[in-house]
């Protein structure tokens, strides 16, 4: 299962629409969740509706939170999306078997069986979450809370039985022309990672859409890279050493 989790506090202002980008992700089988981080005020009506729409286009969830709730929200959203992804897959199967798409329509005892399967798959299947962090100037005071939320998410994922990995990106990049920069490649632990965002230079623009596209690309490469690596490991391990 693949997820993108976007943490932002406002509106995108350059490049491709993030809603289009999120729809792309969804068609690649990647669910997009969005957390809008509020300070004392709010993200504005425009920001709020964009956040909601990105998640809708990306087949994920969206939520507005203040910094204190960030860790718990990120953790719950990820978990909930895992269940949802599996639920959608199971519902497809149900449609073929029962001619009935919804779990709610099943009588309680049958529902119990289906939910047992969903829970089991949700706990044991592999999961990758790519976090995309908005590092525009207004996010600067919130990055400590974001980092805490990432560490907390890692802790929850480590408790799963299935293989779980995260990667971290931020946007915009510090140099001109970089939409998005990787801070952390796929990993299943954060031991020894002192700071996820060392010395960030906060940029002015907010290229949310291009950043999402960048990460979709990264996912794609990851799949190809891994497959070929697996083959080498299996078939030509003698050459590797």
């Amino acid at each position: 299962m693949k997820q993108i989790l976007l943490i932002t506090d406002g509106c995108s202002n350059v490049g491709l629409s993030p809603i289009v980008a999120a729809a792309h992700a969804n068609s690649e089988g990647i669910s997009v969740n969005v957390v809008g981080v509020l300070d004392h005020g709010d993200v504005g009506e425009l920001g709020a509706s964009e956040i909601e729409e990105i998640a809708r286009a990306g087949g994920g969830l969206s939520r507005m939170v203040n910094m204190r709730q960030l860790s718990q929200t990120v953790q719950m959203m990820t978990r909930k999306t895992v269940v949802q992804t599996i639920q959608i897959a199971v519902q497809k199967e149900l449609k073929q078997v029962l001619g009935n798409g919804s779990i709610e329509a099943l009588p309680p005892d049958k529902r119990a069986e289906v939910v047992r399967v969903i829970d089991e798959l949700g706990e044991t299947s592999g999961l990758q979450v790519a976090l995309i962090i908005d590092a525009s100037a207004s996010m600067k005071p919130k990055l400590a809370a974001v980092e805490e939320a990432i560490r907390d998410l890692m802790l929850s994922l480590q408790a799963r039985q299935g293989k779980s990995e995260i990667s971290v990106f931020h946007f915009p990049g510090s140099r001109n022309g970089d939409d998005c920069v990787m801070d952390l490649n796929w990993t299943d632990h954060l031991n020894g990672v002192q700071a996820i965002f060392p010395k960030l230079q906060m940029g002015g623009t907010t290229p949310t859409g291009p950043a999402i596209m960048h990460v979709i690309d990264f996912y794609r490469q990851g799949v190809y890279g891994r497959q070929s690596r697996d083959e080498t490991d299996g078939m030509m391990s003698g050459y590797v050493v």
């Binding site: 969830l61 939520r63 860790s71 718990q72 719950m76 959203m77 909930k80 269940v83 639920q87 779990i103 709610e104 009588p107 309680p108 529902r111 119990a112 939910v115 047992r116 969903i118 829970d119 706990e123 805490e148 560490r151 907390d152 802790l155 929850s156 480590q158 408790a159 799963r160 039985q161």
Partner: protein
């Protein structure tokens, strides 16, 4: 996620199960959990608690756990889960619900406030006993906190809100930050008996030093949250000092399970200083001291005479 949960059942309404046609009269709202609302209801002049959820999968997942626990119950134990069905809300939508035994009681914090802190050691022991039963059957409660413990007369304890109950070895399904082992950098979020005992330790601190515990959560940087910080509160608190050694073991994962932990707790209870207000009057203590001195003198005298 309990985001847009709007169902509101009012007093006097009668809800009817869609599948089994059980009829329940709503009396009042008892509480709100992460997955839904709990109401006091009546059926055939019996009282029950009805939990209604917004998400069929979430609630069913909780029901599955309750049913597994029910299957493991030995004969003679009270039934907990009575009915599982769907109801039509006032908005015409279907909502899943289940019916459980109604537990008459007050929350832990209120009970100790009303009845006195001297009940704390016994209530703690009873709570550990409840946890021990769950652990023995292969489950971890998960979301142990003051709000999820009801106390009835004479310190009888009931756990409520089974939304966090997790099979040993899986990821804890639902937790509350300040009671969470991971939050205090005290270990993983995998379900094991020690996870509940950690939460139990935080619960003890929450009962005796709620302000200082809250202070820690706002003052400390995430990387500085530690068992040591919790222990500092415990060791400098009059009410907690007698159990500080026990707490250190609970936070350090040194008890194998709640059975082990309750045996150690029971030993503490029979030490007089565990009870905050010592029941022994001063003159009695004096008498004991005097007789000890007399005994010492006579032994000395005896020994001297024998030599």
């Amino acid at each position: 996620m309990a985001t847009s949960f709007k169902i509101d059942l009012r007093r006097g309404m009668v809800v009817t199960g869609k599948w089994k046609q059980g009829r329940y009269r709503i009396e009042k709202l008892l509480g709100e959990g992460a997955n839904g609302k709990v109401y006091l209801v009546q059926r055939d002049r019996n009282w029950f608690a009805l939990k209604v959820g917004s998400d069929a999968v979430d609630l069913q997942s909780e029901i599955n756990v309750l049913q597994s626990i029910a299957k493991q119950k030995k004969q003679g134990q009270e039934t907990f889960l009575f009915d599982v069905d769907d109801l039509y809300g006032p908005d015409g939508k279907e909502y899943p619900f289940y019916i459980m035994r109604y537990v008459l009681g007050t929350t832990l914090a209120d009970y100790l406030k009303q009845q006195g802190a001297e009940w704390f050691p016994l209530v703690g022991l009873n709570l550990l006993g409840k946890l021990a039963k769950l652990h023995h059957a292969g489950w971890v409660f998960g979301d142990l906190k003051v709000e999820n413990v009801l106390v009835a007369d004479y310190g009888h304890v009931e756990l409520v809100d089974y939304g966090g109950v997790t099979a040993v070895g899986k990821g804890i399904r639902q937790f509350t930050e300040i009671y969470d082992r991971g939050y205090w950098n005290g270990g993983s979020r995998s379900a094991d008996a020690k996870y509940d005992l950690f939460s139990f330790g935080v619960l003890c601190i929450q009962l005796h030093e709620p302000k200082r515990l809250h202070g820690l959560t706002t003052e400390l940087l995430p990387q500085n949250r530690s068992v040591e910080e919790l222990m500092q509160v415990a060791e400098s608190s009059q009410g907690l000092r007698p159990i500080a050694g026990w707490l250190r073991k609970a936070f350090g994962g040194e008890f194998h399970d709640a059975g082990d932990a309750s045996a150690a707790w029971r030993l503490l209870m029979h030490r007089s200083d565990t009870h905050r207000t010592s029941g022994i009057p001063g003159w009695l203590k004096g008498l004991v001291a005097v007789s000890a001195v007399l005994l010492g003198t006579s032994v000395y005298w005896l020994v001297r005479n024998m030599l």
